[in-house]
Symmetry: C2
Subunit: 101 residues, 2 copies
């Protein structure tokens, strides 16, 4: 079945603390249990292998566009974005693409 | 085993043609057979669900950092970047993160 993959790369602000970055990981870790439409979910801070990279990435897989939209608009997801991510977000680059499987 | 996931979001130039964009898909499709270190590889153009998103994303999984570096520096991969991607690339945002599995 062809799914939809959501990919997002974040850059944090220079002022973002380690505690604030860790809160993003903690908060996102709760989402697979809270959002039944999530098929696969993996995220993490940049390992620092390359200079000039982003700071954090999320990859989320869904059965279809409708399930992706349910995740995008999920109330707990929006709360995390507003309260945990936006305060330290400098920029964001996202794509949704068709996943052949 | 904990792997390494490479995530990259591209924005193409306003001048990029459909043919040039299609050549990126064709060229990247050859890489899993050419680069034995690739464990999983999926990419595609943005579906246009959200306004203001990137144009194209690649997600590539590797067993470890060494295998990611072999992919990053693979000669055929570099050729595709130089000849097919760079001519239409406006910007690029990439992260490598630890994949727990």
């Amino acid at each position: 079945m062809a799914g939809v993959r959501h990919v997002v790369v974040f850059n944090w602000t220079a002022e973002a603390t380690e505690e604030q970055r860790a809160r993003v990981v903690e908060a996102l870790s709760t989402l697979p249990a809270a959002v039944p439409e999530i098929r696969a979910y993996a995220f993490g801070p940049d390992l620092g292998i390359n200079a000039g990279g982003g700071d954090f990435a999320v990859v989320a897989d869904f059965a279809d566009e409708s399930d992706y939209l349910a995740y995008r608009d999920n109330a707990e997801h929006r709360r995390i974005i507003d309260e945990v991510i936006h305060p330290i977000m400098a920029s964001r680059s996202a794509v949704q693409y068709r996943l052949a499987d």
